[in-house]
Amino acid sequence: MGGSLIFILLIVIVLAGAVTFLVLYNSLIGKRNQVDQAFASIDVMLKKRYDLIPNLIATVQTYMGHERALLTELTELRTRAMAGDITPEQRVATENQISGAIGRLMVSVENYPDLKSSQNFLQLQASLNETEEQISASRRAYNAAVTDYNNAVQMVPTNIIAGMIGMQPRTLFVAAEAERRNVDVQSMFQR
């Protein structure tokens, strides 16, 4: 009588352990997939921006004779970012440089009133603002997913399973120094 009770108890404990393991394991995998998905969505938005850059340059160059260097730089940065053979870190750095270059371009447009008021340019500017906003949104979504994932990887009890299957914390997307400077309104007025 006592023996079978212990046996049943053992089975229950093992089953409960297995179910707990499964649930925790699945939640970890789910979180990791969300991080990957969020990263992919940044990529989609960045590609949208690549599509806009040639249009931007075509619209702008007839007006902006003095800004050749900036336009060439932007074209080169785009080519570099689109080439598949760079590391993620390099890619992030290049994207940040693209943001910086576009920012500078938008500031120098202030010196060309004809360009600034042209319908073509206004449309492009709206699309660019749109993609920038989308990029920032997908970065924030990515950071939220990473935070959620990192919490799971580092906190008890999921950290035990994460350690077993070799899951590592990921790094957050931090706005680059150059990008932060872009939103510095004061420096814009000093130009």
Partner: protein, 334 residues
């Protein structure tokens, strides 16, 4: 603000004071009529009661008395209702309609209309089935570049209960009462993002959110909780969305700040949703807005301050557009 006050002050001297005087005369005449009719009816009833005291046996008297008094009240209401409504309409047509133009020239006012039940449901802010729905005082038009509409809404659901004797009682419970605002949002989006007043913050609330998220995952329902970066925002609101990225596209860091300020200024738990490229805002209030001074108050000539209070209520539309920066059109949507 001072700008509005000075405009209102000069307008008060020129136009509003005569309107207020006329309205007060109207109110007094309605009140006088109501009193005369009331005296006649209740005097007559009293006479009838005296008569019946003699004719009718005492055991029946209370029934007769009750019936007669009820009849008198109904008759008084029926006789006066037209005049009451007339007074309300004249207030709305003269005062509110005039003040609307101060807020924005293109803003229109329709006292008898409101945000429809379908539109209220579309907002997805209140999912409870609606059994009784009332709306009035619709304001609509453009504020700057933004198409807006808002009205008063009272939505209720019915609860019928049967006691042991088989008597059924029906009570109505409020789902939402207050001002409901619909505006054209300045960004395009496809999903649904819903910002509800938060159940609070802290460990317990976090646990609740986790459970809720787990629940929605199990059911496979489309929307999930959105964890945003702003702790103050997360303390005031809880966010659900069908699209994590889109929710952040809509709720930019600046819009979160603006919503916090707006919520703090109103000091009431507002609910906001973003659906079909519209923004829906539900602001619960207990006050009945845009109504004339009560018929039975002593002296109710509208003062400059009262006009200002009415104006402030109407200015809500402009305030939302300004506070939430809805006129900024720098994105693809024009």
């Amino acid at each position: 603000m001072t700008d509005h006050t000075t405009t209102l002050a000069s307008l008060y001297e020129r136009e509003l004071r005569p309107i207020a005087t006329e309205l007060e005369q109207h109110r007094r005449s309605v009140r006088q009529r109501a009193m005369v009719v009331g005296l006649g009816l209740f005097g007559g009833t009293a006479l009838l009661l005296l008569l019946s005291l003699i004719i009718v046996p005492t055991s029946f008297f209370f029934f007769v008395a009750f019936g007669l008094i009820a009849l008198a009240v109904v008759a008084w209401n029926a006789l006066m209702n037209g005049a009451f409504q007339n007074y309300r309409r004249s207030f709305k047509d003269n005062v509110i309609t005039r003040l609307v133009k101060l807020v924005d020239d293109s803003l229109q006012y329709a006292p008898g209309q409101g945000i429809s039940r379908e539109e209220f449901r579309t907002s997805q802010l209140y999912t409870h089935g609606i059994d009784r729905y009332k709306c009035e005082d619709l304001f609509y038009g453009l504020v700057g570049a933004t198409d807006i509409r808002f009205s008063e809404i009272h939505a209720e659901y019915k609860q019928t209960s049967t006691d042991s004797k088989g008597n059924t009682t029906t009570t109505y419970h409020t789902i939402f009462k207050g001002v409901f605002f619909i505006g054209d949002f300045h960004k395009d989006f496809l999903g649904q993002t819903i910002v509800m007043p938060s159940g609070g913050s802290g460990l317990l609330a976090d646990f609740g959110r986790t459970l809720q998220n787990f629940g929605t995952t199990l059911i496979g329902q489309g929307d999930r909780i959105v964890q945003l970066e702003d702790p103050e925002f997360m303390e005031l609101f809880s966010v659900r969305s069908t699209d994590q990225v889109e929710a952040r596209y809509i709720l930019s860091t600046s819009l979160m700040r603006r919503l916090i300020e707006f919520r703090t200024r109103l000091n009431t738990p507002i609910a906001v949703s973003f659906i079909n490229s519209n923004i829906y805002i539900a602001i619960p209030t207990t006050k009945d807005h845009f109504e004339p001074p009560g018929l039975w108050s002593g002296n109710a000539q509208l003062s400059m301050q009262q006009f200002e209070a009415y104006l402030e209520d109407i200015r809500l539309a402009a305030a939302i557009v300004e506070d939430l920066n809805l006129n900024t059109r720098i994105w693809s949507k024009q």
